[in-house]
Amino acid sequence: MKAKFLVPLLLFFGLAGFLAFGLTLNPREVPSPLIDKPAPDFTLARLDEPAQTFSLKEMQGEVWLLNVWASWCVACREEHPLLVRMAEQKIVPVVGLNYKEVRGDGAINARGMAIEAETDMAIERARRWLRDHGNPYLLSVLDIDGRVGIDFGVYGVPETFLIDRSGRIRYKHIGPITPDALQNVLIPKIEELRRAG
């Protein structure tokens, strides 16, 4: 036991190693328990045709993305050009989940607003935003009160879910999709899911 004096040093390095690993983790990224589980079903009004509804089964047999967005969401603006480019290159169909378009916006006092008025306002705002910034979505649906968002475990915008042919969530991207995440994570996963049939 000549090297006994090294014990505190080794303990220190062990502790420093744990702490260094901790620094690489992002506490804002809460892992979703929904991965590999069937996506929660929903039926919501379409933004382009509010009289019609959309539900998950319409995408059965497809590998697709559900992208949560809102016009008040600053990070969505950052992500949007990439989504538009993805749509031009026809990489994958993307359905938009417009999340709390009106009541999520801190600039609007939605207290006591009738749901019809809120829906009309949401449609007007969301459509204007897509006109201004381009519409990369196959279609968007309106989650006025954020209930579907809760079912998907959404806790911030944007979030993107990768859903396979059988309707299972296979991956969740938290925050804006970066070109790097698209190339190195999303596209390989999409191709893998397509090969898997």
Partner: protein
């Protein structure tokens, strides 16, 4: 003056704290709605039945807000926390048990939503680690103390001749010290 130093330290701490807060606030690029924390998007509803409201609040205190992360959904005014509080209230009002409501949220947000992590394989170290460290430390201490006692017992005792020699040495050393510095006593 100590008062000045203290206030300077406090001022500096406040500045550093403010800078850290500013960095943290500027950091996240994601938005959980742009609503300031003090104005929830919708009026926080209250259950009509006070007992139900008490249950809902008790449960809300055990659920973590995913946006602020260091507040429960009862304390937070983030829009998502308001939504989740309303969910808790609604589901309790619909006759669901507290466990049902907790399961509902864990299914969607994971164990992270619980302030008290459940006891399972991945959390064994978390729950038992401190007790294991304490027991391990106590065991190690007991082991060391026993070994020390044995070592002391095993040390050879001095014979009468050794003692006499040691005494003679000590006395002569004391005598030398006195003779070398007599002036110190005057």
């Amino acid at each position: 003056m100590p008062g000045d130093t203290l206030s300077a330290v406090l001022r500096r701490a406040a500045l550093v704290g403010g800078a850290v807060a500013a960095v943290l606030l500027a950091g996240p690029v994601r938005a959980e709605s742009t609503a300031p924390a003090s104005t929830p998007a919708l009026a926080p509803a209250l259950a009509a039945d006070p007992e139900l409201e008490a249950d809902a609040m008790e449960l809300s205190h055990k659920l973590r807000c995913l946006v602020c992360q260091n507040q429960s959904i009862a304390e937070s005014n983030a829009p998502l926390a308001v939504d989740l509080r309303n969910q808790v209230r609604e589901q309790l009002a619909a006759g669901k048990s507290k466990d049902d409501v907790v399961d509902y949220l864990v299914e969607r947000y994971g164990d992270f939503v619980l302030y008290e992590p459940p006891f399972k394989a991945v959390t064994v170290l978390l729950w038992l680690g401190p007790a294991a460290l304490l027991l391990g430390g106590a065991g190690w201490l007991a082991f060391r103390l026993r070994r020390r006692r044995d070592e002391v017992a095993a040390e050879p005792s001095l014979s009468a001749a050794d003692r006499a020699r040691a005494r003679a040495l000590l006395e002569s050393a004391a005598g030398n010290a006195q003779s070398e510095s007599p002036e110190s006593r005057s």
